[in-house]
């Protein structure tokens, strides 16, 4: 088994920096591409996709698939380590991502495993619905 030695490139650094600077916001690949092309240090589309995929694999960026037809959304994950015991609720209206600390999460996990044989990876699952603010409208 070989350990990979990833290079630290300018593009990777600036991309991560951009995502980190906007916590709680989601961006499509196209939006990110547009952002950097506006500046004087452009980043190619392929690189954006490749780096985003890497970030997602490393767990520092979360990927969503909304039904808007605009493609996938990516969002910086603040506390990646702690998020394993969180609920992730995405409001379909305002797009806000809500982190819920909840003991019932473990109950659901246990239930799925015992009764349905399914080993749930809570960290990767997003609950879609309406947040409280949007629900009241």
């Amino acid at each position: 088994m070989t350990t990979k030695a990833p290079y630290r490139t300018r593009q990777q650094r600036e991309l991560l920096q951009y995502l980190r600077a906007t916590p709680g916001m989601h961006h499509t690949a196209a939006e990110i591409h547009e952002h950097f092309n506006g500046g004087e240090r452009p980043i190619g589309m392929a690189t954006i996709y490749r780096q985003l995929e890497r970030f997602v694999d490393e767990g520092i960026v979360r990927k969503y698939v909304l039904e808007t037809g605009d493609g996938a959304c990516y969002e910086y994950e603040q506390e990646a380590d702690e998020c394993l015991s969180h609920f992730h609720c995405k409001c379909e209206k305002c797009g806000r991502l809500i982190h819920l600390e909840c003991a019932d999460l473990e109950e659901i996990r246990t239930h799925l495993l015992r009764h349905h044989g399914f080993d749930w990876h809570a960290g990767k699952t997003v609950f879609y619905g309406l947040c409280e603010a949007c629900r009241r409208e």
Copy 2:
């Protein structure tokens, strides 16, 4: 104000009939197209998409998007009562989508709404993890 008078076509009838005959199963547009092309009464891809969109608007078919890049899935919408206990679990290893009927789902919904103010849209949420078969390996 004019009331629209949708025509009842052979394609629409057979398409709905096919979906209705496989409750609890999901199909991509490509799979549906393949199914009908195998027979002697083919249905064009554009028609499939147009009819599916109509069914979704009418609420008799549900659409949901996976992160696999295989496109959207469509599924016949059963009775409202049964829909409350509808789970979608996606195995991250073998890619299988598991359909779970489970009464506990409603408990989770209630919990999220009462304790966290989040109106969960269970039908659009996919639980990622490992299915029983893959877990045992």
